[in-house]
Symmetry: C2
Subunit: 378 residues, 2 copies
């Protein structure tokens, strides 16, 4: 077939029309090297007349730079990644870069495939939320091959790459402190806490209790970091932790989160849960569905503190107290770091840990038994 896909106005045609060599035309149009004024005018006139547009593929082939970055998000349809991507795209556009988006669904093999594809497309760099905290061979290979990587939200241990994360531990600790201070002693924690990373919940808590903390909490998954904050707050307050109140949803699924919370709350006469702390936007949405399905009122029947600032948290039940992550900022910072590396920055790797803000609204109240004084049935 071989469809002549377009009358392709190339630099050769422009050069011919202007009566100069392709080299000269290239210098003018590419903005490199010298050129006299009248030649410049002639070439530009010819280019305009023909409607010349540079072929960035050809340019990239020879310069070795495509002005394209690759992004591996978990799931672009989630608010978190969508907002981060917006930040990335904003910076990319500003600098004349394109951004190829892929989703990993938090699956390592999909991430690997995506990185593979992006590298074959010769992206100048990669922004990734790594699925795996460990090996990540594909990321190491990329770095080794001179393809800079910037990590967002999570970091792979020992990877020679910048990272932009949030201080999840402190944020979670502050949340749980608020609940404890309000008198709650039975605070459920709803989190992803995927088990694939080899963590056993009981052992993790036991290790922590004996001060055998992970060397660097930043190398834990965010939900595990938030668990750390949950544990710390309890310790600080002298309140024992009941690991039965820590629900491992195991995936970023609203429905799965809802089911967990439903099960938990239906039995709250028995387990004594008076407050919920949700570990991210997905868990928060699931929890809210369950709470609504049961017809519970906040904070009357249940106190609630969430993670991630979703639209509804401003107006549901007079406002839900939540942790506001600087998500857009994470995106812009990551992109800026990456573009700096691409531009040749070889300074030490930065591991920025941004603070999160607690948006205090109206979803915390003292537990019912502390208020009523006489209705405790346990």
């Amino acid at each position: 077939m071989a469809i002549k896909r377009t009358d392709s106005v190339t630099i050769t045609r422009v050069a011919a029309l202007a009566g100069v060599s392709t080299a000269t035309a290239g210098r003018v149009l590419g903005g490199y090297g010298y050129s006299s004024e009248d030649i410049r005018d002639r070439v530009q006139e010819a280019a305009r007349e023909l409607g010349y547009r540079p072929n960035r593929l050809a340019r990239g082939l020879i310069t070795g730079r495509t002005q394209t970055i690759g992004v591996v998000a978990g799931d672009i349809s989630s608010d978190f990644y969508a907002t981060a991507m917006r930040g990335i795209a904003d910076v990319a556009r500003r600098e004349g870069f394109g951004a190829i988006l892929t989703n990993s669904d938090e699956k390592l093999d999909l991430e690997r495939e995506a990185v593979q594809l992006l590298r074959e497309k010769q992206v100048d760099g990669l922004i990734v939320s790594p699925c795996d905290r460990g090996e990540s061979l594909h990321l190491r290979e990329a770095v080794a091959a001179g393809c800079p990587v910037v990590q967002v939200d999570r970091v792979a241990a020992g990877l020679a790459a910048d990272s932009v994360t949030v201080d999840n531990r402190s944020a979670a600790r502050e949340c749980v402190q608020k609940l404890l201070a309000a008198g709650h002693h039975r605070i459920a924690f709803i989190a992803e806490l995927q088990s694939s990373h080899g963590h056993d919940l009981a052992r993790f808590a036991a290790d922590w209790a004996e001060n055998r903390q992970p060397a660097s909490p930043q190398e834990l998954d965010p939900s595990w970091q938030r668990l750390l904050g949950y544990l710390e707050a309890h310790r600080d307050a002298g309140v024992p932790v009941d690991l039965g109140l820590v629900r491992r949803v195991g995936a970023y699924s609203v429905e799965a989160a809802k089911d967990h919370v439903l099960e938990l709350l239906v039995r709250r006469q028995h387990n004594g849960v008076t407050a919920l702390f949700t570990s991210d936007g997905v868990m928060s949405t699931g929890a809210m569905r369950a709470i609504s399905a049961l017809g519970l009122s906040i904070p009357g029947d249940l106190s609630l503190v969430c993670f991630d600032d979703l639209d509804w948290m401003g107006f549901v039940s007079g406002g839900i107290t939540t942790v506001v992550q600087p998500v857009h900022r994470m995106g812009t910072m990551a992109a800026e770091f990456l573009l700096a590396r691409i531009a040749g920055d070889t300074s030490d790797f930065r591991h920025v840990v941004l603070p999160a803000q607690l948006a205090e609204r109206a979803s915390i109240a003292p537990p019912a038994d502390a208020r009523g004084g006489a209705t405790d049935s346990r």
Copy 2:
């Protein structure tokens, strides 16, 4: 400087190691042409040893196809575009394509710039939500140059391109019918209805009333299509329309929408508004903020019907009735159409208008005056 960016293991090196010509190596690794079994093994072994990865730039330069599509969304951080993009990315991945994402913020010049960049990057096709219903010269140029375009959510008049949209008019009409049937006569409509398209609200309504409808409603902006549905429902019910209840927010801004609704509801003793119909997710969120700020209850003080199914609509006030657009589906369909065109499909252009579903929940009740029976003050 000229950093030798990587020891670039090219097909030449693989061929050399395997002791064959580059053409033979290419045939094996590219999966085209003939090759004997032992040669095949030798080449593959060499490729594995060297960690060969094809350079898709070079491939694209010669084949004229990059296996990359360009996407121009309005704003990826909005739920609508994020979900559509997810659909696009899913199909792209399945077919081995990459997708470059850009945002137009609904501004024509940004859209134009984006299309420009994407075409210079030699994308095989474009998925666009066109800002402009008219000219769209940049899109026509793309089509003329053999770069297929698929339109999502909106269509540019007379563009030789497929489109995937939603039947906004019918969906809106059904919503307003529900409200009218419940006894509401003063229904406010909150919508973007940007004026830049030359539409004057009063004249638009007058033209419509005299049956001078636009030739193809599908070529209107979605919010104008929804206005059409609003008008039709009123006419069908024999209820006069008060254009003062149609609020043109003019931009997809939550805060702007909130302000409009606030102003409207604060004066509801005077304007008699008993129900709200919001035209999209952004308007819905803004409206809900205003309603919450005023402490109004739904549907007690106010009935509400929304457009777009956001998470919170399931659990706020026992559920908000809303129009559910098949957004993910729009994304996958658009991508499938585009990939078909790229693969050579030359059949007639498809203009798919998907039906939207009304999710009936609990946000409609008869107006207060109809219930109370005696409190009408107007």
